[in-house]
Amino acid sequence: MAFAIQIANLEKKYPTTHALRGVSLSVEEGEFFGLLGPNGAGKTTLISILAGLTRPTGGSASVMGHDVVTDYRNARRNLGVVPQEIVFDPFFSVRETLRLQSGYFGYRKNDAWIDELLERLHLADKANANMRQLSGGMKRRVLVAQALVHRPPVIVLDEPTAGVDVELRQTLWQFIQELNRQGHTIVLTTHYLEEAETLCGRIAMLKSGQIVALDSTKNLLAGFSEKYLRLTLGSNRLPAQFNVQIIANTGNQYTLALQDFTEVEPVLAAIRESNVPILEMEVVQPDLEEVFVKIMAGQ
């Protein structure tokens, strides 16, 4: 299996903090991979090491098989990074910014691709506007275009949708998903967990510089959280055998924990047998946010 990113025992110590504590993970080519964690977990440090902005104090990292320290030119050629902070060079227009960035990567005469990027990111009418004249959301889309201008096989997006409105967020994700379908590997960090849940096939969760969960999104959702059955009964007489499953109870409203959805039917049958009418019923699926909160709380 070819790996887009391979990280082994990666360490980063700053004078006062230990940002990464032996992180190891691999991302296969063509994956849509999520990197989640609270602020200060080490996500940006990890991305910075991949991008060559930060040097590791131990371990190794490679992009498309190229070590980010010893073979940095090839590693960086294969990587496009959308940084978290909105930054721009006020001396240049949008098109100049993209031409320069393309040229830094050694690609001249790249205007056809630049035009396509501008079109896809809804920036075509701003191509000749100075960067200072753009709104925050537009500047962020220029950052996305800059990351893609050399058509890297691996694309890292560090909080790309912060401050971008809903419609443009959808446009951006459609574009990124299309790139992913074409074979680009995508690594995403975001605080919008519903985005990660929808988009990412696999997720790593970082906490205090260590990986605390690494699995497919499906397995994380299935394995790290219980399902719930919320019932509103005609009276407050829930059969006693289910008392141990109660996690919330207000009057005639009960929330029961389930290990599996197959447990739903026995519960309903027992209630029917005890002649208690069921007024409302809701089966609650866990979401990634819940999984995230539990993992971060150490459960």
Partner: protein, 263 residues
């Protein structure tokens, strides 16, 4: 949509030339501020000093004070602008965060060094040419040894361009940069014999001037115009070359290590 370009032709030379182009474009876009302004300031020095001292001072035999002053001011403006170019570009990029755009691409230390240094030299030389042309309106300034003029213009701008890169990488705030400029660059350029021959100085100041590498740049540069200098021009050339190489080594070492750029 195109396929993923794993195999697209790529060259490091192109990355270097694009970074150089960006650095040139950066000052050219605000040429009024980066070229016209410094030329005007320097010409004002020339007009005032020449008016006050012309006819009263003859530093080199047969050379008017105004003519003597022109090469010194040309060199001083070149040096200050070469420093300003690389230092301001780097500190602005660092503080606004857009330095990331040149740190993410596959540019090595040599390309980074070459692009910032060459842009600084070009700005220094362009401003110097502007001051020289303006000086010619006021007085005739012969150029006895043009090759010496060219070599010292490039070496001088290169030395200060290197110092600008060092200061730009080192400084974390604009006031640190201002301190570097006010307390190191300005005294060194003013106490370098721009306005006088150091032989007219008291012994202590004469000794201090000899310890100032910029004195040799001004003196060697002036030799190119008048074939007359305070010290042996070959000594000036040697000191300028060694200073340039030493500073280039320092800059390249900083860039290789990622000092204050790649944490």
């Amino acid at each position: 949509m195109k396929k993923i370009a794993y195999d697209q032709q790529w060259s490091a030379m192109s990355g270097f030339s694009m970074l150089l182009y960006k650095e040139l474009l950066r000052f050219w876009k605000v040429a009024f501020q980066t070229i016209a302004g410094p030329v005007l300031t320097t010409v004002l020095y020339l007009v005032v000093f020449a008016h006050v001292l012309a006819g009263r001072v003859e530093v080199f035999p047969g050379v008017s004070y105004t003519a003597f002053l022109v090469p010194g001011l040309v060199m001083m403006s070149s040096l200050q602008n070469a420093f300003a170019n690389s230092s301001s570009s780097l500190i602005q990029s660092k503080i606004t965060g857009n330095i990331i755009f040149v740190l993410l691409p596959p540019l090595g230390a040599w390309e980074f060094f070459g692009a910032y240094l060459l842009a600084a030299i070009v700005r220094g030389v362009v401003v110097g040419i502007g001051v020289y042309l303006a000086g010619l309106i006021l007085t005739a300034v012969p150029m006895a040894k043009p090759l010496w003029v060219v070599i010292f213009a490039i070496l001088g701008s290169g030395i200060l361009g290197n110092l600008g890169i060092i200061a730009g990488i080192w400084a974390e705030k604009f006031d640190q940069m201002a301190a570097f400029q006010s307390f190191i660059i300005m005294p060194l350029t003013f106490l370098s014999g721009v306005f006088y021959s150091i032989h007219s100085l008291p012994p202590f100041w004469l000794w201090l001037s000899h310890a100032n590498p910029i004195f040799y740049l001004i003196d060697g540069f002036r030799y190119g115009f008048f074939a007359h200098s305070d010290v042996d021009p070959w000594l000036s050339l040697a000191i300028a070359t060694i200073s340039f190489l030493a500073l280039s080594f320092v800059v390249l070492t900083m860039l290789h290590r990622g000092y204050k750029l790649r944490h």
